[in-house]
Amino acid sequence: MTPVSILGIACNWSPYACYHAAGRAELALPANFRLMRVMCMGRINQALILKAFEHGADGVILLECVDADCRYGPGPEVGHTNVDRVRRLLRFLGIGQERLVERAFAADGRDELVHAVWDFTRAIEDMGPNPAKPGSAREAS
């Protein structure tokens, strides 16, 4: 199977707590999975997701809090709007909407989070690498 790379973007609160708990319990996560932490899903804008694909991600999983648990108020609304827009751009680009998923977790959702990451990774492995990966001449820096 062609190796793929998966980026998770996690909200600092519930999902990161789940991730942390998974680490303490030594639950395995896919070796090709990397995590980026942001303070809130409201911080996830179109640029972050596009940049992940520009820099070679084959799939991006957004690990979010359940909307009602958001500590900042407008976070989910802003985040979901951004994700809806970027999904349409991914479709235009031929990257495909299924390479971007959103999953929400409560603070005690450790096992659910581990499952979600494995499920998504397997799905992306089945799909294979993102066909719209830029050539070698990526931006300097």
């Binding site: 640029a47 940049k51 751009l89 300097a140």
Partner: protein, 397 residues
């Protein structure tokens, strides 16, 4: 900057910076400087010649310029400031990895770079409506640009750059041409080029050129002034043996109106017009758009205080360094437009459209008289309704 000093020296020479008289006319006309930004083209020209060790200033100032070209218009000594900025940016980006502050966190530049993917398979033609006639192969193509992407990305501010594409195509159809529109068209690379990413710009140019050649295209028509500039001037620099004819949609329409004998239907309205820098100053298309507007009976064009080759920038270029000063320029431009008491603010550039649409929503403009922003091709297409095949119909009164 000593490691690259020879290259900088060459750029200085090639763009006549040594001819600078330090008269300051450039700075006195620069909208960025006049908006209050700590930036001066005269000072940048002086520093790079006389104090190249002042890297901090130079490496930051080079990203401030809007590349609007007003300074060059005023310079009595032939300093080619805009190209100087372009080449210096390319050098600093390539050697030092520098880049300006990216508006929208660089999202637009990201999709533009993603489009360099060799295996790219886009779904970008969903905006085509059934009344628009296009082909897959043929001698004439219509180059759409990033409009489908912009309209989604900027949907929060109601941007409609696809109107340039739909109505551009509509005009071509009505003037008897069903152009090639490619599913695999990529970004023209304007914003990458002007922010210093010349490698990815060249890659996009090559891929686009190949795709259009394969479709049998000999002529590219585009509604976007930036795409036009890129295809006409910069693609030939990086694609060996470039042999496509490049036509601005407005030129195509003007010619088509003359040869077809069609007429625009009258419209009693008062409009003003935002000259895009890449048309008026850089491609000498001042009169063309005005002649077209003049063909609509009843339409009165009221010029803004600064128009034609002196037009004021829409406030941003290539999506870098958009800030409060950009906004100030835009608000001032909107004030100029409102003072004409026009009902419509027409623009020929999708980017001017985006930036002015943003400014129109600014809280500072609340309570001010409204002015509707409209693409010039849309007004023209609306005034050129389709007649029965081969019959100019009501139009040819």
């Amino acid at each position: 900057m000593s490691d690259i000093s020879q290259k900088v020296e060459q750029i200085i020479r090639e763009h006549n910076l040594h001819l600078c008289l330090e008269c300051g006319k450039c700075s006195a006309s620069c909208p960025r400087m006049l908006s209050g930004k700590q930036y001066s083209p005269r000072l940048l020209a002086q520093k790079i010649i006389a104090s190249p060790e002042d890297e901090g200033y130079i490496e930051s100032a080079v990203w401030e310029c809007l590349t609007c070209g007003l300074c060059e218009e005023r310079c009595p000594s032939g300093v080619r400031f805009v190209d100087f900025i372009l080449r210096l940016r390319s050098l600093l980006a390539a050697v030092k990895g520098l880049k300006g502050y990216r508006a929208h966190d660089g999202a637009v530049h990201s999709w533009m770079r993603i489009m360099t993917a060799p295996g790219l398979k886009q779904n970008r033609l969903e905006w085509l409506t059934p009344d628009l006639r296009t082909t897959q192969e043929g001698p004439v193509a219509f180059f759409v640009g990033c409009a489908p992407y912009f309209d989604v990305f900027f949907s929060g501010i109601g941007v409609q750059t696809l109107a340039f594409a739909r109505d551009g195509l509509r005009l071509m159809n009505r003037l008897g041409v069903d152009p090639v529109v490619l599913a695999e068209e990529r970004c023209c690379g304007h914003d990458l080029l002007w922010t210093g990413d010349s490698a990815n710009f060249a890659e996009l140019s090559r891929l686009n050129y190949q795709a259009f050649r394969q479709a049998g295209v000999k002529e590219i028509v585009t509604a976007c002034p930036e795409c036009f500039q890129v295809w006409e001037r910069f693609v030939p620099e990086v694609v060996e043996g470039f042999d496509l004819k490049v036509t601005l949609l407005l030129d195509f329409v003007e010619r088509g109106m003359k040869t077809s004998g069609l007429r625009f239907s009258p419209l009693k309205t008062r409009v003003t017009y935002q000259d895009p820098c890449r048309l008026a100053r850089m491609a000498d298309r001042v009169e063309g758009p005005r002649r077209l507007m003049g063909m609509i009976e009843g339409l009165t064009l009221k010029e803004m205080d600064n128009s034609g080759r002196s037009a004021l920038c829409c406030g941003n270029s290539s999506f870098i360094n958009c800030d409060a000063y950009s906004k100030r320029i835009q608000l001032e431009r909107l004030d100029e437009a409102r003072r004409t008491k026009a009902e419509l603010l027409l623009t020929a550039c999708p980017k001017c459209h985006i930036h002015l649409a943003c400014a129109l929503r600014d809280p500072h403009t609340l309570g001010q008289p409204g002015i509707e922003l409209r693409p010039l091709p849309s007004l023209l297409a609306e005034r050129l309704p389709a007649g029965p095949e081969g019959d100019p119909g009501d139009n040819a009164r």
